[in-house]
Amino acid sequence: MELYSLTAHELLEKLGKKEISVEGLCSSVRNRIEDTDSKVKAYVRLAGSPAVVNPKAINNGSLSGIPVSIKDNICTEGYNTECCSRILAGFKPPYDATVIRKLKDAGAIILESKTNMDEFAFGSSTENSCFGPTHNPWNLDCVPGGSSGGSAACVAADEAIIAIGSDTGGSIRQPAAFCGVVGLKPTYGRVSRYGLIAFASSLDQIGTFTKDIEDSCLLMQVISGHDPMDATSADLKIPDYTRSLGQDIRGLKIGIPKEYFIEGMNREVKTIVQEAIAKLKDLGAVIKEVSLPHTQYAVAVYYILGTAEASSNLARFDGVQYGFRAKASKLIEMYFKTRGQGFGQEAKRRILLGTFALSHGYYDAYYLKALKVRTLIKNDFDAVFQDCDCIITPTAPTPAFRIGEKSEEPLQMYLSDIYTISANLAGIPAISLPCGFVKNGLPVGLQILTKPFAEETLFQLGHAYERSTPWHKMKPKL
């Protein structure tokens, strides 16, 4: 068994028993990247061997010696962080994001090359990257999903042990589903966003990509917690997540929202998810149909609020303090040219849509209305969680689509997030885990959603499912 193919908890055990060395582990991962990344293209700025940022980090921390891959929108002091956008070309952050500091404190090894993403996390396929697309390890002609497609693909391809991504409307869960790995979006406020380059501040959350549930627990234990540097981080005690592993799920109440099993959903995906639900029932969970009546509005609400917040957050990229600057003789001309040349097509579309939604005369009709419908969507979840411990849905309506298939049709691309967006609007935690494969060999993801700050319920249910199914053990042939 090659070291790169193992999970973090398996490797930590071997490291603890001195069966393997950190150097051996790092070179195994490095060799794997060298062998396969020319096909997958999960990493960006990968010049020769990927360097590691703190190879001497070895301490007694809970992730000591484990390499971690990081999405290109999370600041690593002194190492390029460009959001896969031309406008941030060459940007080396002057500080570490809080999650990076916590990972380093836990002894993790940070890879210098970052993982590919849609520019500024705008997209569902990783095609909107200034470095070109990442390829799905299960079928190189397909997208890995997005926007954290590089983080999902590198874990799926064993080019990483664990990875960090961000999720604003599904950007962790949808690529995790497309690549057959475990992807967790924690509760809004559970993990500090200090040092995450902002897309939509009321929706963004940092989360994890792992090969199994136990690694998600491990990683969440390290990155969760209150941070005075992020005013939106919640000052709540962090439970011992590993205690939810191996727990019985008998009597756990699972709601199945009828609005999610509708037209437009791939038939094979539907069957596979229904089989997963039947499996959970066999394990003793109580299954009941529930209703989230405002589901149909989620995508529209998201594309108003997400773009409005993005248009404001991205105002800072003006060529003055960092990144790309276009040549110009006057300041105002420099702004126009820098932003016109520096942003890609999807970034421009979103900034323009968001600016429109916030502009005089349209604010009430779009932005304010979307905020009110957001309340209705949140109320739907509150009502269901009165009587259910969690909700189960497919993560995405289809398996991975082909590269180029939706890149000229933004609305079709937006609709691939139809099942994941609501969790961000409601601020609740959600996880995607592998639950089978369609006939052509592409993986399918099962999404579990639960109450705010109840990530342990996701781990409990996810782990029970994982122990009785083989899906998380499957590896793509590369």
Binding site: P94, G189, R325, G340, R349, L352, L411, G427
Partner: protein
């Protein structure tokens, strides 16, 4: 809601983004399609519903106003496209 090319040009100016005529043409069509989809929000019954701008019950998070170390000038200017002494340099602002 129709998004005319004039409106899009106005929004692009507000956003400080230079668009080529081809971009203007293409984006105007794409944004019209997206806004057409978004118009379904008009069907939602929002009478008496309060807006949710933020999901956590937090407001006015304050900390003690104590001095602490901030970024050095050197680090602050390290990424500047153009700098001189302790300043960012930009093209002329006033004619």
């Amino acid at each position: 809601m129709a998004l005319s090319r004039e409106t899009l040009k106005y929004v692009a100016d507000l956003s400080r983004i230079e668009l080529t005529p081809q971009e203007l043409e293409k984006l105007s069509l794409q944004l019209q399609t997206i806004l057409g989809f978004i118009d379904q929000l008009s069907k939602a019954d929002i009478a008496g519903i309060e807006p949710t701008s933020h999901i956590l019950p937090l407001s006015n998070v304050l900390r003690e106003d104590t001095p602490r170390e901030s970024l050095s000038i050197e680090k602050t200017l390290a990424n500047a496209p153009q700098k001189k002494d302790n300043f960012f340099v930009v093209p002329k602002v006033i004619e």
